[in-house]
C-alpha cells in the first residue's frame, strides 16, 4: 500500500483498469474532494477520494515523526490543544501488504482474513533518552505507530 501510494498514475482511477496517465476521470477526481467514477473491469461506479487533499494517499512524513522532521518538539501549542508533542524519530519500520522486493525472496505482509484474524510483530524500543547529554533532555523522539488499511484496488 505504501508503494502504491507513490504511484501517482493510479491506473484504476481511469475509465478501465489499463488506463494510463490522466484521462477525464482522473481530472474529475483531481478537481474534487471525492467523486463517483467508473473503476474496475467491468467498470463499476465507485467513490474515489482526492488523495492530494489527504484522502487515501499515504504520505508517511505527513503523520509520522520521521527522521527528517525538524529537530524540535511540535506542535508548539500542544499544551493548549492537547496534541501529542513530537520530534523526529530515529527509526522507521515498515510491514507492507505489497511485496517489498517484488519477485525477490521476501514476502508481503499477509492479509487479515476470517480464518487468520491476528498478526503480531515485535520491535525493540531502545530508550527514552535522546542522548546522554543532560542539556539535551528536551527533544526526545517519541514512539509512534501508524497503520493503514488499503483502499480496495
Amino acid at each position: 500500500m505504501l508503494a502504491a501510494s507513490a504511484n501517482f498514475a493510479e491506473r484504476d482511477i481511469g475509465t478501465h483498469d489499463n488506463a494510463l496517465g490522466m484521462d477525464t476521470t482522473d481530472i474529475q477526481v483531481a478537481t474534487t474532494r471525492g467523486s463517483v467514477v467508473p473503476a474496475g473491469s467491468p467498470a463499476v461506479s465507485t467513490v474515489l477520494l482526492n488523495n492530494q487533499q489527504g484522502y487515501g494517499r499515504v504520505v508517511v512524513s505527513h503523520v509520522l515523526p520521521v527522521v527528517n522532521w525538524p529537530d524540535a518538539k511540535i506542535p508548539g501549542d500542544a499544551a493548549l490543544t492537547g496534541d501529542t508533542l513530537e520530534g523526529p524519530a530515529l527509526g522507521l519500520l515498515i510491514w507492507d501488504g505489497i511485496d517489498p522486493d517484488g519477485t525477490g525472496p521476501d514476502a508481503a505482509e499477509p492479509p487479515i482474513s476470517n480464518s487468520d484474524t491476528l498478526r503480531e510483530h515485535h520491535f525493540q524500543v531502545v530508550g527514552t533518552r535522546a542522548r546522554s547529554d543532560p542539556a539535551w533532555l528536551g527533544p526526545i523522539p517519541p514512539a509512534t505507530s501508524w497503520s493503514t488499511t488499503s483502499i480496495w484496488s
Partner: protein
C-alpha cells in the same frame, strides 16, 4: 481507539468505521514538562498487533474481499481474468494492510517478523549534525541496549571519505558517556586536511577532509546477527554566506 489515536471518552467514534488510516501517537513527555512523570514510552520489546475487529457491516467478519487471492500476477491490480467471483473487486485472500512504526527502535529477530529484518542493526549510530564545516566539532551518538562505554570505544570508528570515495582518515578509540542506553562521544575536531587532494592523519583525534568529503561513523555491533550500524554526514569547508543570513529553524549548524 478513537480517530487518530485519540482516546474514546464515552459514545462511539463513527470516523473509525470509515477511515482507512489509523494512528497511535505516543510521547515521552506529553505535557512538555520534564518534571512530570507522564512518559508513555517504555524501553523494551513492544508488540504491534493487527487483528480482525468486532465491527463492520457484518460484525467481526471481512466481507466483499473475503474470497481467495485473485491477484494471479501479484501486481495488486484487477487485471482481466482475475475477477473470479465477478464482483469487480480484487480479492486478496482477506484485508491487506500496511503497518509503520517510527521510533527509536528496530525489529526483533523472531518468527513474527519477515526474514528481511534478520540482519538489521541492533543499534543506532548517528553523528550529532547533518553537516560539518571545517571549524566544527563532531560527536557520535549511539543507542544500544547491550553496549557499554568501554565496548563502544572498541567498536565505533569514524572514517572520512573523499568525494571519489577514497578513505583519507580514520579515527577510533572514542570516549563515550552513557545515560539510559544512549551514548555520546567526546567531540572530535573537524578540520581541513593537508595536501591536494586533502588527506588526514589516522588516529590523531582530528577528522580531516575537505568540501565534498563525507564523515561516516560505523558501529560494528557484536550482538549476534547484527549488521553494522552507520551514519553519515557531509563536510563543507566553504563559507555558508546564504545560510548565515537566513538561518533555518531546527538547523543543527547555527550561523556564527
Amino acid at each position: 481507539m478513537g480517530q487518530w489515536g485519540l482516546g474514546r471518552i464515552g459514545g462511539t467514534d463513527p470516523a473509525d468505521k470509515i477511515n482507512p488510516v489509523e494512528c497511535i501517537h505516543l510521547a515521552d513527555d506529553p505535557d512538555g514538562s520534564p518534571v512530570t512523570a507522564d512518559g508513555q514510552i517504555v524501553p523494551g520489546v513492544w508488540t504491534l498487533r493487527v487483528k480482525l475487529g468486532a465491527g463492520g457491516a457484518l460484525p467481526a467478519q471481512i466481507s466483499q474481499v473475503s474470497g481467495p487471492d485473485e491477484d494471479a500476477n501479484g501486481n495488486n491490480r484487477l487485471d482481466g481474468g482475475e475477477d473470479l467471483d465477478a464482483d469487480s473487486l480484487l480479492d486478496k485472500g482477506g484485508q491487506v494492510y500496511a503497518v509503520v512504526v517510527a521510533a527509536p527502535s528496530w525489529p526483533q529477530r523472531t518468527a513474527r517478523n519477515p526474514t528481511r529484518f534478520a540482519d538489521y542493526p541492533a543499534s543506532i549510530a548517528r553523528l550529532d549534525r547533518f553537516r560539518y564545516d571545517c571549524s566544527d566539532d563532531a560527536a557520535v551518538n549511539i543507542w544500544d541496549p547491550d553496549a557499554t562505554s568501554e565496548s563502544l570505544s572498541l567498536d565505533v570508528t569514524i572514517r572520512v571519505y573523499s568525494a571519489s570515495g577514497v578513505l583519507v582518515d580514520t579515527e577510533t578509540n572514542l570516549s563515550f558517556s552513557e545515560s539510559s542506553h544512549a551514548f555520546s562521544s567526546s567531540p572530535l575536531a573537524v578540520r581541513l586536511g593537508t595536501g591536494s587532494p586533502a588527506a588526514g592523519i589516522p588516529g590523531n583525534g582530528i577528522l580531516e577532509g575537505d568540501t565534498g568529503y563525507v564523515l561516516e561513523v560505523t558501529h560494528s555491533d557484536p550482538t549476534p546477527g547484527s549488521r553494522t550500524a552507520l551514519g553519515r554526514a557531509p563536510m563543507d569547508c566553504e563559507p555558508d554566506l546564504l545560510g548565515a543570513s537566513s538561518p533555518t529553524p531546527g538547523s543543527a549548524t547555527p550561523p556564527t
